[in-house]
């Protein structure tokens, strides 16, 4: 052991731009790895990262048992599937849970609870993700190139509020109950959204560029659900038609969304066009709104 300055100097020398985690081997056993978190990696050497705990089924193991770890002292994590098991990362749950900084890039599909309770930083998934991605998210950005499973940005059972900040972009489609009990923040879905999207929403915004599933906004108090392309399955009878008009705030939002992700199918017509406005759910507060783009 040397002095603190020497340790710091050694750490700087050992620091890498990214920490790479490559899944060692294929398996059908689920992995729980909430230790894959930039907040935990930033202050640790390669050996210390490899020693972080994880669960392989019900057995406690280390990250080093499951992944080849390369890199240290970085809050930028890159994850790769095992060479013999494409899609293996789909079994790895809780990646980036509670993260507040840094960046995680997942090359492949990610497992359940991806970015749950995250407060900052960014997660990028070059694949799809499973249930509960971004659950209780409070900040940061979560980008998914593929599809997302049910309960995206939702609240765990028994919890009052779901997502309360940050932004979730999903290029593909999402399962049922996206944004359930959402309190704040924004979810953008490039494809279709399943049933009960925005159910029991308290506030926040949910943009759907594909088809908005049936019973959207069930029980919502406030908040905005937008069917940007004008495609929505039957709304609940507890939503009432209000008007068809241009919505100024959509101009601000859609312009910013396009700057975030220029691959979103946003046209000038979406920005300047009119939207049908439905308000509800009148079984609760009734101050929520569903906006459905009105064809020209």
């Amino acid at each position: 052991m040397g002095c603190i300055a020497c340790i710091a100097a050694m750490r700087d020398e050992a620091a890498s731009d990214v920490v790479t985690l490559r899944l060692r081997a294929g398996s059908s056993i689920p992995v729980e790895a909430d230790t894959i978190c930039p907040d935990l990696f930033i202050g640790r050497s390669e050996a210390e990262i490899a020693a972080l705990p994880a669960f392989y089924g019900r057995r406690q193991v280390t990250l080093g048992d499951l992944f080849e770890v390369d890199g240290a002292y970085s809050d930028h994590i890159v994850m790769w599937d095992a060479t013999d098991d494409p899609g293996g990362l789909r079994r790895v749950k809780r990646i980036g849970q509670r993260m507040s900084r840094g960046r995680i890039v997942v090359h492949g599909d990610a497992g359940m609870h991806l970015g749950a309770e995250m407060r900052g930083g960014e997660i990028v998934v070059h694949g799809s993700t499973s249930t509960w991605a971004g659950a209780h998210m409070a900040g940061g950005i979560l980008r998914v190139d593929g599809n997302a499973g049910p309960m995206l940005g939702a609240a765990y059972p028994g919890e009052i509020r779901g997502m309360r900040g940050g932004v979730i972009f999903v290029r593909g489609s999402v399962g049922p109950r996206a944004g359930e009990r959402m309190r704040r923040g924004m979810i953008v879905v490039g494809g279709d959204a399943g049933e009960f999207s925005g159910a029991r929403m308290i506030a926040g915004s949910l943009f759907v560029f594909g088809t908005l599933g049936a019973r959207a906004g069930a029980g919502m108090k406030r908040g905005t659900i937008v069917a940007v392309n004008g495609r929505a399955e039957a709304l609940l009878p507890t939503f009432r038609y209000a008007c068809t008009s241009q919505v100024t705030f959509m101009r601000v939002y859609l312009r910013r969304l396009w700057e975030h992700d220029c691959q979103l199918p946003i046209t000038d017509a979406h920005v300047s066009g009119a939207y049908h406005r439905y308000t509800g759910d009148i079984t609760t507060l009734g101050k929520g709104e569903i906006l459905i783009y009105a064809e020209h």
Binding site: R184, M186, A203, S205, R222, T224, C243, S245, Q246, V247, T248, F249, R251, V252, Y253, R255, R256, V271, K287, E289
Partner: protein
């Protein structure tokens, strides 16, 4: 002084300008109007938050409290009431103590049906109105600013003085960060501090009134028969210097006997703009 920048957008430039002109109406002097305000620039759709044509407006007051009060009144009565408009903060990020709660105060007009939207740390209020909705930012930035930069254009006759003042205004208008709060950018009734009447804080600038030449200690050369003042408020000393320089360059033509500036005994404020110094240095000008 303190200043805020409003970005007013509308369905077209005509309505944005209408709102801007009404908002900056009766705003020539902080003493009598509560604030000094003017149109800073016409903005292209690419320059505005909602992608519509816009106009940026600068509002100046003596202090923060007065600025908040004026903005609430003017945005509420002049922008919100104007068809198709929306109103955004144009100063960008400022410290928490330099934020003025404008939309946050106007939202109550929504009578409980106002909708809050938070995007990237900025809160917007959607206030339902008969036309549709009025979108306004929760808070507006405020910064220290300078008021009362001025030029006095001393003409041999009224026509020459007015033409020179108009040329100066045309030259200054394209500059950013400055406004000319008086009608058409020109004041014909420049004032001096104080009055023989106790109830009046300012009175006509007797030293520059040609018709009083024989009755008071005049500042006018023999050949001068008409004087106009151009008052310049700016967000920075540099912006005002730049405006004064281009104004002087444009005004200095035949028929103008002298170009001066009122310094009111040096008591008007901490910033002194010496004309010869301004004309002797190169100043970068940011045009709109």
């Amino acid at each position: 002084m303190r200043a805020a920048r409003l970005i007013i957008t509308a369905v077209n430039e005509q309505w944005a300008m209408t709102a801007a002109q009404v908002t900056t109406g009766f705003a020539t002097s902080v003493i009598a109007c509560g604030c000094e305000a003017g149109v800073e620039a016409v903005l292209a759709p690419e320059e505005t938050p909602d992608g519509r044509p816009g106009v940026s407006v600068l509002v100046f007051t003596m202090g923060p409290k007065g600025l908040e009060d004026q903005l609430i009144r003017r945005v509420g009565q002049c922008v919100m009431t104007c068809p198709t408009t929306a109103c955004f903060d144009g100063l960008g990020e400022t410290t928490r103590e330099n934020r003025l709660k404008i939309g946050g105060a106007l939202r109550y007009f929504g009578n409980g049906f106002q909708i809050s939207k938070k995007l990237e740390g900025k809160r917007y209020w959607r206030i339902p109105v008969m036309e549709g909705e009025f979108l306004v930012e929760e808070s507006f930035g405020m910064q220290k600013a300078i008021g009362g930069g001025n030029l006095l254009i001393l003409g041999q006759d009224n026509a020459a003085a007015l033409a020179a003042a108009e040329r100066a205004v045309d030259a200054i208008r394209p500059l950013r960060d400055v406004i000319l709060p008086f009608p058409g950018g020109i004041a014909r009734s420049g004032s001096q501090v104080g009055s023989k009447y106790k109830f009046l804080r300012a009175s006509t600038n007797v030293a520059y009134c040609p018709m009083l030449r024989a009755q008071v200690e005049t500042a006018l050369p023999e050949s001068v028969n008409s004087v106009y003042e151009i008052v310049i408020d700016g967000l920075s000393e540099t912006a005002i210097r730049a405006a004064m320089r281009v104004g002087i360059e444009a005004a200095a033509q035949a028929g103008v006997a002298r170009i001066s500036a009122g310094n009111y005994g040096g008591t008007l404020g901490q910033f002194h703009f010496h004309l010869r110094e301004i004309m002797g240095t190169q100043i970068h000008t940011d045009t709109r």
